[in-house]
C-alpha cells in the first residue's frame, strides 16, 4: 500500500477495516472519501478543489509526506517517498492521501519537499482564518491527525492476529520476501472464531523450506526454530533460555562488515532471525521481553568500542540476564513460596511449570510434609513430565485428568499455577485449562497462587482468550484407541473443525496471590501494573 500507483479499492478497504477496528471514528470521513473516489474516477480536475478542502485538514501532519493542498498528482509522487520508508510506515499516510493515478513525472524529492512546505505554510495561514467552519472537518482532522502524535492512542494491530485480512497477509509476505525467509502456509480448516490466527502443521516445519546452507539465517537459529516448531523445546522459561543461548552463538560468530557500526548492523541482522522464529512458532511474551532487552543492550554499545570488547560485553549482558531474571528469580520465588506451604498441605498443580516444580522440590528438601495432585490434559499431557520430576524427588503425587478436577478439589488446600505472562490489567495468561482450574478452585474457596518471574510481566492488555492466542496443529487431537482412529479423515468432513488452543486468560478475581521476585515477594494480582510502572522507572 505504500507503493505508488496503488488502486483506490484495496486501499480504501484497508482503511475502512482499520477504521472499523479503531472504533468507527472515521465513518463520516470514510463515506466522504468513498464518494470522493467515485467522483474522481469520472472527472479528475474538478475534484481537485474538493479534495483540496478536505485534504487541507490532513495537511496538519508534520509527517515525512504531508499531502500538498492543491495538486493531487504530486500526492501520488510523494507517495513514492513514503514507499521508500520500510513497510511498517504508518498506514494512515497512503490512506489519508486520496490515491490518484500518478500522472506527473517524478520531480526531484527536494523540489517536492519545498513545494509541500510552502503549501503547508499557506494552508496553516488559511486554517487560522477558517477555524469557525471546521466543525466536522476539525473532528476528522483530529482523527487523522499525525500518527506521530496519536501513536500511543491509535495502535496498529499486530500482524499475527489479523490472519483473515488479505492485505495484512500481503504485507507480511512482502516483508518476509525482503528478509529472504520462507512464508509458512496455514494448514487445515480454522474454526471461525479463531480464523484471525495462524494455524500451522507440525508435519511441514519451516526448516524444510530453508536451503542448507542458508546464507541469511544462522544455523543455531535454524536449529532453534526446528526445536520450537516440533515441540522439542517447550515452556516459556526453556524457550527464552534457548533463544538467549542461540543469540549468544550468533554474537560470537558475528563480524562487523566494513563501514558499518556494530550497534546498528547487529540489530538489523537479528530482525530476520526473529521473523524466522516467529514463523516457526509465535513468540512468547517472555521471549519478546528478552529480545527487547538484547536490542536495547546492542544499541547502547558506544560506537568507539572495539568489536571484541563489544561482543564480550554483550555475551556478559545475556549471561547476567539469564542468571538474574530466571535462575536467581526462581530461587527468590521459591523462598517466598515455601512460607505458604505448611505441613499437611495438599497442593494441586496443573501441567508442567518449571517454576512450580522448582518450588515444590525446594519445599520438599526443606522437609515440609505435603502431597501433590497433578492435573493433566490432552493433547499435550505435560503433567506427566511434572509427575516424573516430582516422583523422582520422592514427593507423593496423585495424577488426574482435568475432567476430575471438581471431584478432587474438596481435599485440596492450595492451588499453585505457573504463568506464561502476566498482563497489564492483572489477567494471567497461561496454558489452556488454567482458567478452568482457577474457576473451580474459586467455587470451592481454595486459594489460588500464581508464581511468575517479573520478566514475564508484559504491557499488553487482554480480557478474553480469543483476541490473541496460538493455534496448535489440529492433527494433535487425533488419537487411536482400540485400533480405531475416528478423526483420521476430519478434513473431508466440511462442517468439522478441530481446535487445539494453546493459551487462555484468567481474570484477577480468581487469583488470590502472585508470588514474584525483585524483592516484592507476594503481591495481589491487581498490582501487576504497579510493578511494571516501578520497573520502568528503575530502568
Amino acid at each position: 500500500m505504500a507503493d505508488s500507483g496503488v488502486t483506490e479499492g484495496p486501499d480504501k478497504k484497508e482503511e475502512i477495516d482499520r477504521a472499523k477496528s479503531e472504533g468507527k471514528e472515521l465513518t463520516k470521513e470514510e463515506k466522504q472519501r468513498l464518494r470522493k473516489e467515485k467522483k474522481q474516477q469520472k472527472k479528475n480536475k474538478e475534484k481537485k478543489d474538493d479534495k483540496a478542502s478536505q485534504e487541507s485538514e490532513k495537511e496538519k501532519k508534520p509527517l515525512s509526506s504531508p499531502p500538498p493542498a492543491s495538486q493531487p498528482p504530486p500526492q501520488s509522487t510523494t507517495q513514492k517517498a513514503p514507499s521508500a520508508v520500510p513497510a511498517p510506515a504508518p498506514v494512515s499516510v497512503p490512506a489519508s492521501e486520496a490515491p490518484v493515478p500518478a500522472d506527473k513525472p517524478a520531480k526531484s524529492k527536494a523540489e517536492l519537499k519545498a513545494e509541500r512546505r510552502a503549501r503547508q505554510e499557506a494552508e496553516r495561514a488559511s486554517k487560522q482564518g477558517k477555524k469557525g467552519e471546521t466543525g466536522q472537518q476539525a473532528a476528522t482532522s483530529k482523527q487523522k491527525a499525525p500518527p506521530n502524535e496519536l501513536q500511543p492512542v491509535v495502535k496498529r494491530l499486530p500482524e499475527h492476529i489479523q490472519v483473515d485480512n488479505p492485505d495484512v497477509l500481503k504485507k507480511l509476505a512482502k516483508k518476509l520476501e525482503r528478509q529472504q525467509i520462507p512464508l509458512r502456509m496455514d494448514y487445515g480448516y480454522k474454526v471461525s472464531l479463531f480464523s484471525h490466527l495462524h494455524q500451522y502443521s507440525r508435519k511441514a516445519p519451516l526448516t524444510q523450506q530453508v536451503s542448507i546452507p542458508s546464507t541469511v539465517i544462522h544455523p543455531a537459529v535454524v536449529r532453534l526454530g526446528l526445536q520450537y516448531s516440533q515441540g522439542i523445546v517447550t515452556g516459556s522459561n526453556a524457550r527464552s533460555v534457548a533463544l538467549l543461548h542461540a543469540f549468544k552463538q550468533v554474537i560470537r560468530d558475528y563480524t562487523t562488515p566494513p563501514n558499518e557500526e556494530l550497534s546498528r548492523d547487529l540489530v538489523n541482522k537479528l530482525k530476520p532471525y526473529i521473523s524466522f522464529l516467529n514463523q516457526c512458532r509465535p513468540l512468547s511474551a517472555s521471549m519478546g521481553n528478552a529480545i527487547k532487552y538484547i536490542k536495547k543492550e546492542i544499541s547502547n554499545i558506544p560506537s568507539q568500542c572495539k568489536e571484541e570488547e563489544a561482543k564480550s560485553k554483550l555475551l556478559n549482558c545475556i549471561e547476567c540476564y539469564i542468571n538474574e531474571k530466571i535462575i536467581l528469580a526462581a530461587k527468590a520465588i521459591a523462598k517466598s513460596a515455601i512460607e505458604k506451604i505448611s505441613d499437611g498441605d495438599v497442593i494441586l498443580i496443573y501441567g508442567c511449570s518449571s517454576l512450580v516444580n522448582h518450588i515444590l522440590c525446594e519445599a520438599f528438601e526443606k522437609s515440609r510434609k505435603f502431597r501433590v495432585i497433578v492435573v493433566d490434559s490432552r493433547p499435550r499431557l505435560e503433567g506427566r513430565e511434572a509427575l516424573r520430576r516430582l516422583v523422582q524427588k520422592g514427593i507423593s503425587c496423585t495424577y488426574v485428568l482435568i475432567s476430575a478436577v471438581s471431584y478432587v478439589l474438596p481435599e485440596v488446600s492450595k492451588v499453585f499455577l505457573g504463568a506464561h505472562a502476566l498482563l497489564a490489567n492483572g489477567y494471567v495468561m497461561s496454558r489452556v485449562g488454567t482458567s478452568q482450574i482457577a474457576l473451580v478452585a474459586k467455587a470451592f474457596n481454595v486459594p489460588v497462587l500464581v508464581c511468575c518471574e517479573t520478566y514475564k510481566f508484559c504491557e499488553r492488555v487482554q480480557t478474553d482468550s480469543f483476541v490473541s492466542n496460538e493455534l496448535d496443529d489440529p492433527d494433535d487431537l487425533i488419537v487411536t484407541r482400540k485400533g480405531k482412529t475416528h478423526l483420521k479423515d476430519w478434513q473431508e468432513v466440511p462442517s468439522l473443525g478441530l481446535l487445539n488452543l494453546v493459551y487462555d486468560v484468567t481474570p484477577p478475581d480468581f487469583v488470590d496471590l502472585v508470588i514474584t521476585d525483585l524483592g516484592l515477594g507476594m503481591i495481589p494480582c491487581t498490582s501487576v501494573p504497579v510493578v511494571l510502572r516501578v520497573k520502568n522507572v528503575d530502568q
Binding site: 496471590l513 524483592g519 495481589p524 491487581t526
Partner: protein, 301 residues
C-alpha cells in the same frame, strides 16, 4: 535494658490511654535509639529489631510489629554516609521525631476524610472499641450531623460497652447489640465502619474477632463496609485464609507465653479478605483494597 524498655512502654501507654499502642511502641523505640550506646549502624539496627520483638512480647497486636518495622525503615531511608556515628544517630533521631509527628496527625487526617461519608440521619454499625472510629464519629458529631450507632458487644472482653460509654458522652444515641444479632440488625443500618489492628498486603484487614462475620453479613445485605486505619498499620503479611495468620498475632501476649497448646485457646483476631471491604480510609487517602498493595510497594520498596 529490656526491662527498662518494657517499663517505658507501659508508662507511655498509661500516660495517654487514647494513644495507639503502636505509637507508644514507636516512642519507646525512639527513646531506645537515643539511649543506645552501640558502635555500629548494623548493631544499632539489630538492637532496634530485637527491641521491637521485645515489645511485641508485651503487646502482641499486629500494629506494634508493623509500626516498629516501618519506623526502622523510615529512619534508615536517608543516606547514612556520615563518618561520625553520633552524627548518623542524630540524623536518625531527627527522622524518628519526624515520623512520630507525622503519625500523631494521622488520626485527625483519617477523621477528616471519613466524616463526609456519614450522612445526616445515618445509622452506623461498628464493632468493638476502636479509637479511630471514635475519633471519626466525634468529628461527624462536631459537624452537627445526626446519626445513631449500633455497637456489637464484642466478647470475650466486652469492649463494645466501653465504646458505647464513650459515645454516650458525645450525646450520640447508641445501642449495644449481641455479636450474634449482627445479621438481625443489619437491615436497619446504612453503613458499617470498623477500625483495624493491621492492614495486610492483599488489602484485607486483621481486626477483633467477629469482624469477618460482620463483613460477610454486610456483603450479603449489600451495605458498604468501611475500614478506618492509620498508615503505620500496613504490614507485609499476606494471609490466604484464617489459618494462615501467624499464631503470634492471634492470641494475646500473655497467652502466648503461658499456654502450650493453642487448640484450646480462642483467637482474639480474625482476617477479613479484601473482597468484602468497600473502602479503606487512611492518612494516605481513601483507598480501595487493591490500592493498598500499591501503597505498600511504595512504602517498602
Amino acid at each position: 535494658p529490656e526491662d527498662e524498655l518494657v517499663e517505658y512502654f507501659r508508662d507511655q501507654m498509661r500516660k495517654d490511654p487514647d494513644m495507639a499502642s503502636a505509637v507508644a511502641a514507636i516512642r519507646t523505640l525512639l527513646e531506645f535509639l537515643k539511649r543506645d550506646k552501640g558502635e555500629t549502624i548494623l548493631g544499632l539496627r539489630e538492637s532496634l529489631t530485637s527491641a521491637t520483638t521485645c515489645l511485641t512480647g508485651v503487646d502482641s497486636s499486629v500494629a506494634v510489629s508493623s509500626g516498629g518495622e516501618l519506623f526502622l525503615r523510615f529512619i534508615s531511608l536517608t543516606s547514612l554516609e556520615h563518618q561520625d556515628l553520633s552524627r548518623c544517630k542524630k540524623v536518625m533521631e531527627e527522622r524518628g521525631e519526624l515520623f512520630l509527628e507525622k503519625i500523631s496527625m494521622s488520626r485527625a487526617k483519617v477523621a477528616k476524610l471519613c466524616h463526609t461519608f456519614i450522612k445526616d440521619g445515618a445509622k452506623i454499625l461498628t464493632h468493638s472499641y476502636s479509637r479511630v472510629v471514635l475519633r471519626v464519629l466525634e468529628k461527624a458529631a462536631g459537624e452537627k450531623k445526626r446519626f445513631s450507632v449500633y455497637v456489637t458487644e464484642s466478647q470475650p472482653d466486652a469492649a463494645g460497652r466501653q465504646m458505647a460509654e464513650a459515645l454516650r458522652k458525645l450525646n450520640v444515641p447508641v445501642t449495644v447489640v449481641l455479636d450474634a444479632a449482627v445479621g438481625y440488625v443489619l437491615e436497619k443500618v446504612d453503613l458499617v465502619i470498623v477500625g483495624a489492628e493491621g492492614v495486610v498486603e492483599s488489602g484485607g484487614i486483621i481486626n477483633k474477632i467477629g469482624t469477618y462475620q460482620l463483613a460477610l453479613c454486610s456483603k450479603a445485605h449489600n451495605k458498604p463496609f468501611y475500614v478506618v486505619a492509620e498508615s503505620f498499620k500496613f504490614v507485609r503479611l499476606y494471609p490466604l485464609n484464617q489459618q494462615d495468620v501467624p499464631d503470634k498475632f492471634k492470641y494475646k501476649a500473655d497467652t502466648l507465653k503461658t499456654v502450650e497448646n493453642f487448640s484450646e485457646e480462642h483467637p482474639v483476631i480474625d482476617y477479613t479478605p479484601p473482597s468484602l471491604i468497600t473502602l479503606l480510609f487512611t492518612d494516605l487517602g481513601v483507598l480501595t483494597p487493591s490500592a493498598v498493595s500499591d501503597e505498600l510497594i511504595k512504602l517498602y520498596l
